[in-house]
Symmetry: C2
Subunit: 340 residues, 2 copies
DNA sequence: GTGAAAGCGCTAACAT
DNA sequence: ATGTTAGCGCTTTCAC
């Protein structure tokens, strides 16, 4: 091999090569591959043999250009960090494979930033797009919409008639969790420690928390809900502040996710608080480690894989029929009680 | 919008549409987009205006067919489960974006299984491929090779002259960890609890463990190394067995990854063993939770993001020059001592 | 049942 | 500086 080979495409075997060697036309070779029923068994056999001999592989790009189907769907995520995103991705990937589709990913999906030259995604080569939107991001959605690809939005509630939607029913799980805390503690000792205030899930969880706790106390104080980000550092910081004010002992906390909960648990342990006697805590996401840490963390299960799979499923339907009626899927969350 | 619109491609704006409206040829429009320097400013301005008005977006597939460059690279992973894979993916995605490339993922990448009709990946549309191989998988590698795409193999050691290779230096970190355990315990009380025995990383970690421990005892007993899988359940099961035989107290364990370590820690806690006095333990991967759990888990850091990024980097180089010399990158691991 | 031929939307010589 | 034209590799009428 020389240092500068021909570009791959020049050297690759094409339909024409197979046709020539098999003594048929390219059309026949194409039929052997795509509609075997239409070709005489003997011919098909001969063509197949040549295909094997030459190691022919159809060029997916040329095929896509003809059929205007690439069998690729995009998935745009704000980040690929942590179990939340990777499990959604995993569910989407599995479902895509079931339908013979491939997944093109775009992490840190942001549109219209700086003077970017390229768009967030190569829309024109996608058959469809799943967009995970966890915080207001009109630019990305707008960019995606005007590209014309079928879209399914995950997490953000979008009412556009041509966009399907997969949502988490955060309210139910959060309400269960709040009720669980209220079973051990007075409402004025309950706290919600969320992720970013703009985050849709955090918003919904906080709101369910306020509603349920509000039924047992006159008013839910402002300091009973706090917002930061989905990190253990934030959980630890919040807990430290509470400990400094002598207010963590005897409290019940609903954390915005398990990471925050782990941070709080860690700070509580350092302060010598016993779980769950001195501090009751419930997380969100039911991550793998929730059941491994000690004490095992009670957590609200979110069906992440199913979320990803449902988004792909809706998309597949819309790709088949772009004008179809908007559909919305909302998946339930539920409290898993452990020992925290 | 009617229920059955034209397929997207029919309705999409093409170069020809722009050319017509701008009163120029398609070549000029193409130049405005790809080589702006070659076109008169006034013309360029006029064309740009029409592009905006019509909302023209170049068709990535047609472009790829012409240039035989899709700007897409594939990444094949055995699974997308857990921090190990998702962090590698994250690193690869970030690096790909730096180079203007997109990532197409194939989870559960296995080749030649059953009578699958389609290959693991749409090789013909990829500019290159990163394959993460953690256990012997000749079929996948063979399939990928004969597709002709530039390849970079991650984790498995591959000496083919046309395939780049990114490796983890497991030996250093594992040796450090073993030495760390030997600092507290006699060599005959040290154990290695790995993932699958066929797993390359587990293999190398076990071997470094045997070598280092072997320097302090006559022979390393067979029961001092055990193999299962990368799960906390396996760690817990192993620990339970040891506890039943009364052999866990006073032992030192090097776990194949942090999950296994967490499982062992959990069983040890249930058995009333104090960490690190009754049981010293070191994990692998330095996962986010290693520093959050209590006691904080000592762990060998593996530069996962850098691994993914390095693979993409090598691939980019080989795409630019397919005949270039094979390159191998080996990234270091190092022990992070915490309190376990 | 098979072949000829017309493109899919674009880039890149080659002309002018 | 711009236009004309020949494909990239494939699918798909339309003839035969």
């Amino acid at each position: 091999m020389s240092r500068h080979d021909q570009p791959r495409s020049r050297s690759a075997v094409s339909l024409a090569d197979v046709a020539r060697d098999a003594g048929v036309s390219v059309a026949t070779v194409s039929r052997v591959i795509n509609t075997p029923g239409l070709v005489a068994p003997a011919t098909a056999e001969r063509v197949q043999k040549v295909i094997r001999e030459l190691g022919y592989q159809p060029n997916a790009i040329a095929r896509a250009l003809m059929t205007s189907r690439s069998d690729i769907i995009g998935i745009a995520l704000p980040d690929i960090h942590g179990e939340f995103y990777s499990e959604i991705l995993r569910g989407a990937d599995a479902e895509a494979r079931r339908h013979g589709l491939r997944l093109l990913i775009a992490g840190e999906a942001r549109a219209g930033e700086d003077n970017r030259t390229q768009t967030t995604l190569p829309y024109s080569l996608l058959d469809g797009l799943v967009v995970l939107i966890t915080e207001p991001n009109d630019l990305l959605l707008q960019e995606a919409r005007q590209s014309g690809v079928p879209i399914c939005v995950l997490d953000a509630e979008v009412k556009q008639p041509d966009i399907d939607n997969v949502l988490v029913d955060n309210a139910t799980g959060a309400a269960e969790a709040a009720a669980h805390l209220l079973g051990r503690l007075p409402g004025d000792r309950c706290y919600f420690v969320g992720g970013a205030e703009a985050n849709f899930d955090t918003k919904q969880r906080a709101s369910a928390f306020r509603r349920v706790v509000g039924e047992s106390v006159r008013t839910v104080r402002a300091d009973q809900t706090a917002f930061g980000d989905y990190s253990s550092e934030w959980g630890r910081r919040w807990a430290s502040g509470m400990i400094a004010k002598g207010r963590l002992r005897g409290a019940g906390v609903l954390a915005g996710n398990d990471e925050i909960a782990f941070g709080i648990l860690s700070a509580a342990r350092d302060a010598g608080l016993a779980i769950p006697d001195d501090l009751a805590i419930v997380g969100f996401d039911n991550s793998r480690l929730a059941s491994i840490v000690h004490p095992a963390l009670s957590s609200v299960h979110i069906p992440l894989r199913e979320l990803g799979a449902a988004a792909v499923e809706l998309l597949v339907r819309r790709i088949a029929d772009p004008g179809c009626e908007r559909r919305e899927v909302r998946l339930a969350s539920r409290l898993i009680v452990r020992s925290s």
